[in-house]
């Protein structure tokens, strides 16, 4: 059990990192990575939502879609689950923890449209994970997202003061550095058999 959780961790964070290996959730990866602080905030929100979404989607899949032979509806059903879940979490946070609500701020509703969250739920189903592994996979995928976005934000903060050729200034150099980060993560391929 412990071993499979460890394998899930290494797989989700390094080998199959959502952003730099699977290329899911690129929008927030490029959009919210200008400062390390906001990137970390976004990462925390994603970990939170991914964990909950994995659990909720697994339950919907197992107890509603599977018995009715409606697995082909899972994309729509999961979008529904995620959207409702994020709304619900936002309400609960606003009521119970103003501090956390203010800290996550705009990032929480933004996550509704983060395809990495949908991706993790669909991939959980595809690989036939059980409930516990699904939840851990969700959490660790969030950790992988956070790792990638914080690393990238650090690079972008340095790019601010770097001398960049005029034709590459702005987004082009960000994309080039993103691809280099992605290449670096390729080094983890083959770590697990």
């Amino acid at each position: 059990m412990l071993q499979s959780i460890l394998i899930t961790f290494i797989s989700a964070v390094f080998i199959n990192n959502f952003v730099v290996v699977k290329f899911l959730g690129i929008c927030p990866f490029l959009g919210v990575s200008k400062k390390i602080k906001t990137a970390a905030g976004m990462g925390a929100a994603v970990i939170f939502v991914m964990t909950l979404a994995s659990a909720a989607a697994w339950l919907v899949q197992e107890f509603i879609l599977k018995p009715l032979d409606l697995e082909y509806m899972q994309t729509i059903a999961f979008i529904l689950v995620i959207a409702a879940l994020v709304q619900f979490v936002e309400m609960v946070l606003q009521k119970t923890s103003q501090g956390l609500y203010k800290a996550l701020g705009i990032y929480l509703p933004l996550i509704t449209t983060n395809c990495a969250v949908l991706g993790v739920t669909l991939l959980n189903v595809e690989s036939g994970n059980n409930f516990l592994i699904s939840v851990f996979n969700g959490a660790f995928s969030g950790v992988g997202f956070t790792l990638a976005i914080v690393l990238f934000a650090g690079i972008r903060e340095r790019l601010e003061t770097a001398v960049v050729p005029k034709c590459l200034q702005g987004f082009p150099i960000s994309l080039i550095s993103a691809s280099l980060v992605s290449l670096a993560f390729l080094g983890f391929q083959g770590l697990l058999k």
């Binding site: 509603i64 409606l70 509806m73 529904l80 689950v81 309400m91």
Partner: protein
């Protein structure tokens, strides 16, 4: 056919359950927000410039309702918004004091001397690190536009090597004041036409050798002002805007034309 109906039923059923759940949750977890806060937030312009002295439009709206902040703090919306906010709060509307930023330096490239040729980072702060900047006058505008970058309303231009505020666009939010390394920018009431456009604290002859239009501390304006609105701070004249009546006597006697404001409309 049965498959389609089952799929539609399941998904709409899920949607219905989530919808009911959410609307129930919104009742249970409703946070009491004073409806006046929401309404004030709606009439505010939403520029989030911080010109009111609060962190943004949201926190200003909150402060008006909960802490009794004044209703006329928003420089962007002007008296129109102040009137609406006052109406929501049920108090008498107070007029907004219209003000604009002014860059107190007239030392264009053509009239001021340079100390050295600067080829570094295009920023006043960076230039000011190198022997106080490339201008011979240590107090003058360096013209790299740190204030232009800071301005959220595109109200500042660099013309002739110095920064100029387009007063029609300026909302007096004060972002440029913080950006200027020479602390040359001041918020001045828009209806006051005359300012001493120089911040040089050098002695008269030094100022004169650095820049043709600097204040040389001759005190002629102090004597010419009939309302004792001008006083000397060392070798620099200063206008008290509470006393100034826009009579323009000072600008007539100033030998270096340091007291004047050109029309910086659009």
């Amino acid at each position: 056919m049965g498959d389609i109906i089952a799929a539609v039923l399941v998904i709409s059923g899920l949607g219905l359950i989530f919808g009911i759940g959410l609307s129930y949750a919104s009742k249970v977890f409703a946070v009491k927000v004073d409806e006046r806060t929401v309404r004030i937030r709606e009439v505010l312009p939403g520029a989030n410039c911080g010109g009111c002295g609060f962190a943004g439009c949201d926190s200003y709206a909150d402060a008006v309702v909960t802490n009794g902040a004044e209703t006329n703090c928003c420089p962007v919306g002007g008296s129109e918004v102040a009137g609406k906010v006052a109406a929501i709060m049920g108090v008498e509307a107070e007029g907004v004091k219209r003000a604009a930023a002014r860059v107190l330096c007239n030392g264009r490239c053509s009239v001021s001397r340079e100390k050295y040729e600067y080829h570094g980072i295009d920023s006043c702060t960076a230039a000011a690190q190198l022997y106080g900047g490339h201008k011979a006058c240590a107090y003058g505008c360096l013209g790299h536009g740190d204030c232009v970058k800071a301005c959220p309303f595109e109200a500042i231009d660099i013309t002739g090597g110095i920064a100029r505020v387009i007063e029609d666009r300026c909302k007096a939010c004060g972002k440029c004041l913080a950006a200027c390394p020479k602390k040359l920018i001041e918020i001045i009431p828009k209806d006051k036409k005359y300012s001493v456009m120089c911040r040089s604290r050098d002695k008269g002859p030094v100022t004169k050798s650095n820049c043709e239009v600097g204040c040389i501390g001759c005190t002629k304006c102090v004597k010419a002002c009939g309302y004792s609105a001008i006083s000397m701070e060392g070798a620099l004249a200063r206008i008290d805007y509470d006393l100034c009546t826009n009579c323009g006597e000072c600008t007539k006697v100033c030998p270096t034309m340091a007291i004047r404001v050109m029309d910086f409309g659009e």
